[in-house]
């Protein structure tokens, strides 16, 4: 993957903004893979690839319900890295390699979120006396420090993802056969669909919404067959 410097910088900035949006600021859902992937595709001049990878990771996102302090992978910057990978390799190979790079980046992103929360806990613990004094300046300093650490974390995750994207083609693209590339894409799409279905069923539960889900599924199947 060889990209002009300004495109790489734009991807890093976008990945950082996306990473910060997930939890810290402003949670307007640009961190959703659908949005992160589409804009990454636009930066690369390849919106169709952005949409495709965005949908794959959006399905995986259904596996996550961010309640309380639950730990989860981070698919925003991961989708940016995935789209950059896929853009460098055409067709099905791009889809498979992009998803693989995105999955690894998502795993790393999730680990860094947990690490950041631990660091924030230490900072808050160390500043407890100042916070208890009612000094608003101390409160703002601790808070802004957390925001800046999250921005740094998101930037690093995006950079790591883009490095993986840069390595993917020479390391894997040349070793893998055409059938292998198709298998990789099949693996990514099938597990994303399974995660999307399983995650949705967890939200739906066994109550009356299950019937609504079945109705939607039936309608989607009819529409899919009708449009073939």
């Amino acid at each position: 993957m060889i990209l002009p410097l300004e495109v790489l910088l734009a991807l890093v900035v976008w990945g950082t903004v996306v990473g910060v949006d997930l939890v810290s600021l402003p949670q307007m859902m640009i961190a959703r893979p659908l949005v992160a992937g589409t804009v990454a595709g636009a930066i690369l001049g390849d919106i169709p690839t952005g949409l495709k990878l965005g949908v794959v990771f959006e399905l995986l996102q259904y596996d996550i319900l961010p309640v309380g302090a639950v730990r989860y992978p981070e698919y925003g910057p991961a989708t940016v890295a995935a789209v950059a990978t896929a853009h460098a390799s055409s067709g099905v190979l791009g889809l498979g390699l992009g998803a693989l790079v995105g999955l690894v980046t998502g795993l790393i992103g999730g680990l860094t979120i947990n690490l950041l929360r631990r660091v924030n806990s230490r900072v808050v613990h160390a500043a407890a006396a100042q916070l208890e004094s009612g000094d608003p300046g101390a409160l703002v300093r601790v808070h802004v420090g957390g925001l800046l650490r999250d921005a740094l974390r998101a930037a690093l995750v995006t950079i790591v993802g883009l490095v993986l994207a840069w390595l993917a083609r020479p390391l894997l693209g040349n070793a893998i056969t055409v059938r292998g590339a198709v298998l990789l894409a099949v693996a990514a799409v099938s597990t994303a669909l399974a995660a999307g279905a399983a995650g949705t069923l967890r939200l739906v539960g066994r109550g009356p919404n299950l019937a609504w889900f079945a109705a939607g599924l039936g309608g989607g199947l009819v529409a899919t067959l009708w449009l073939r």
Binding site: L25, P73, V92, G216, T224
Partner: protein, 245 residues
């Protein structure tokens, strides 16, 4: 009145970053303290410091509804409520605001619009569907944050009244089925969209792997998640891809 509106606006803007210093010790606590501070500035000096300190104590709830607790706590400080009562109010609101926000937003509004957007993309709407998702989602997002802050400030210690607002009840009743229909419809459409370039044998493989993966995720939900399964299946595919000529 203008001063109150200005303070509420500043509090709202700070609420967008309420999770900026999220941590395992006070959770959203520091962020709620930062967001509440503009509403406490006209307290007298003796009350201001302790009120700011209380605002930064442990707090956890859905971020979009945290404003309800912040507004209520700030109003209680102005009304001269006892410190213990304000602490208890904040603690009592954590659970209800968390579960209400999760039901309305994470399990309702967000997956509903996401499902519609995936279906629209599969049907060829392209980036316009994504732009519409972002716009419509954030109408609900910003409206909920603003309503929560205003309701908390209006009701103070009697803020539980706001949680029984009929619009919240109706939204909860409608969004569950709407989400189920939207995502249900999106699944086959996205499957067709993503598998479009695949050869027939690959589509059969996709159906088999998706079915087995779904069963594994349902049976082993305590130990297995989508990421782990995807990585494991991708690793198997990579090995097969290198070996299969």
């Amino acid at each position: 009145m203008a001063a109150v509106n200005g303070a509420l606006t500043r509090a709202l803007l700070r609420l967008f970053a309420v999770q900026g210093s999220y941590n395992y010790e006070r959770m959203l606590g520091v962020g709620t303290g930062v967001a509440e501070e503009p509403l406490l500035r006209d307290l007298d000096a003796a009350k201001y410091g302790p009120a700011v300190a209380r605002g930064g104590h442990f707090f956890n709830a859905h971020p979009y509804l945290a404003g309800l607790a912040i507004g209520a706590a700030a109003r209680a400080e102005h009304d001269g409520a006892a410190p213990d009562q304000i602490e208890r109010l904040r603690e009592a609101l954590c659970g209800p605001l968390g579960s209400l926000g999760d039901r309305l937003v994470w399990a309702g509004w967000l997956p509903f619009l996401s499902g519609l957007t995936m279906a629209a993309i599969a049907l060829g709407a392209g980036w316009i569907a994504v732009a519409a998702f972002l716009f419509i989602y954030n109408i609900g997002h910003v409206a909920l944050r603003w309503w929560a802050l205003k309701a908390g400030w209006t009701h103070g210690t009697r803020v539980s009244v706001a949680l029984h607002h009929p619009v919240l009840q109706q939204a909860g009743a409608v969004l569950g089925p709407a989400m189920a229909v939207a995502v249900g419809a999106a699944l086959p459409l996205t499957a067709a969209f993503l598998s479009g370039p695949f050869a027939p044998w690959a589509r059969i493989a996709l159906a088999i792997v998706a079915a087995v993966s779904f069963i594994l995720l349902r049976l082993l939900s305590a130990r297995l998640n989508g990421l782990r399964l995807s990585l494991a299946v991708a690793a198997l595919a990579l090995v097969a891809g290198v070996l299969w000529p």
